[in-house]
Symmetry: none
Subunit: 187 residues, 4 copies
DNA sequence: GATGAATGAGGCTTCATTCAT
DNA sequence: AATGAATGAAGCCTCATTCAT
């Protein structure tokens, strides 16, 4: 999907689907519905992957947290489709409030919850110190969001070294939350 | 400005400016030009403020860093216009590459540079440890960007306690960069 | 049948018939044919009734004439379907000249002929005076047509007292055609 | 105006008006509005004529009544436009209830009132007998309506001798309402 | 400088019609 | 016989753009 509701002609959507304009209207009532369903469909693909990945993790909480962050950043850096979904939601969200809410329920909230679980586990295990940001685990998503934003804005014109960026953000995070006594454990 | 290039009719732009459609074409060649100038104009307002604010700061590097972050978050939380500019750049940026570049030059880069200076000063002064993220000072913007993003997506439907969020993110950051020996200085 | 050729979708016709659009095309070549047959079919029902009713009449010519008029008016007032057929013929007649002609042959002309016979009988029997309108027996249909027209135009928003209207029109007619010497016979 | 809302393309309406599609939408919001205004405009032309004509009439009530009827019939027979308006109202009236009501107020009711006045005058003057149909003066319009209906249905395929038809219907009417003692006055 | 009228390309949407199954 | 999917022509409507005044 190119970007933009208005800039996308239904005839092109149809052509890319290998059918003609009329066929679209056999399945959807309206252009808005077409987009609603398209985005809804695309949104489904990401979360299960995170879920699977998260549940398969082993090791200390710090290790699992780092793995999660690496995974998320790599995904964001590579998956053009989910980035475009984000662009769409930011650009046309007011026209599709249902979509945004759904995106929150099925995408953002579960992700935040994964991090909350990890943090809670870490604190319970004495690995992490209790810290103010434990009430804002979404902070752990913000470097990833930054990558996404950067890519949305500049495409490939201002590339970021995703791996180094990821390491830097993990370093910063770990410094901030790991119990000082354990800090020699960090990778 | 409502959001969306296509969704905004020149007639409305004209009406809001108190003139008629025809008049617009006396000053601008094209709808694209109208937007180009509008965004360009709006972008100018923010940076000087940061600049002024930054140059007036006093105290330790940690204190100045914290002040900067508080300032940026407060601004983001309150200024609707700059948020909509961001939405526009994300949504229609590919149509206005010049605008995006200009936005980078006049908005993003200077901001990053302020943070780079602060970090460099802090390290030189021995307040901050040398740390990997010093090559990615944009990381310090990511919590602010997160606030902006949240607001773009959910409007006021999922409010965040900006102050608490800001404190949490500052805490995390400071833990990550301030020299352990100095950490009792933190607010 | 709703009103209007263009406003009626074949899909709805099909649905009301309990089949699907495709099936319609098994039986009819074209949308026009569908309407042609529908109208043709509906038109058949009225005339035999008039015919039967007319041939069963007894009494003086004046009595039979009055009965006929009462019958026609009552029918017009009550039968929604024939009214809609009339609407259709007026609205789309130019697209279906065959239908209009058939309607004339099987509906209008026979009706006029019934009246012509009655008038001729009445004059032959000395009941009616010879009068100019005997060449325009359709005039006897005009009050009924008026009722129909009124109903087509206003639906039930401007109801007419059909019975009183009928009596008034019969009175007018009888005054005009019954031999003065016999006028005390009128009801 | 050809007949039929759906069958009429706005582009053709525009062309006939010597402008283009877009211009129509500068003056009207919608296709429905275009028709609404068109019909409204055309309806205005007829009534003043009747009004003028009626108020200029001289002579006995019978003479004035006959003149009115002749006038109405001649008008109906000759004015294609008002006939098409009637067709439109019958065909599409349910889509334009406001138009139908207006047509009643500005066209039908005033006409009926003219006849009511004439009849009342005639009865007051002893020229006409009191008769049941004085409560349904619209009956005097029914032969004219019949002419209109005939023309709408058959175009010029089944021509009626309007003059003879008019005379016949006047004869019938006069027989029915003029005081017997005065009947030698009839033309 | 400013206006209001006019234009016409372009896109959404409808629906009669076709056709493989 | 019947269906459901697919098609594409056609028409409404929007709106950026032009231009005479």
């Amino acid at each position: 999907m190119k970007s933009g509701y208005a800039a996308t002609r239904l005839e092109d959507v149809a052509a890319r689907a290998g059918v003609t304009k009329g066929t679209i209207y056999f399945y959807f009532d309206t252009k808005e519905r077409v987009f609603d369903e398209m985005i809804r469909y695309k949104s489904q693909s990401f979360f299960p992957k995170v879920q699977d990945y998260a549940s398969g993790l082993q090791g200390s909480c710090a290790e699992r947290l780092r793995s999660m962050i690496v995974f998320v950043h790599k995904y964001i850096a590579e998956d053009r489709s989910s980035r475009e979904t984000l662009r769409f939601l930011i650009a046309e969200g007011s026209r599709f409030p249902g979509l945004v809410d759904r995106h929150y329920d099925e995408f953002i909230r579960p992700m935040i919850e994964r991090f909350e679980e990890l943090i809670a586990d870490g604190i319970a295990a004495g690995e992490f110190r209790p810290f103010p940001a434990m009430a804002f685990t979404e902070l752990m998503l913000s470097p990833g969001l930054f990558l996404s934003f950067w890519s949305l804005l500049f495409g490939s014109r201002r590339p970021i070294d995703v791996e180094a960026f990821t390491e830097a953000s993990i370093d910063l995070l770990m410094q901030g939350i790991v119990q000082p006594a354990l800090q020699h454990d960090r990778g």
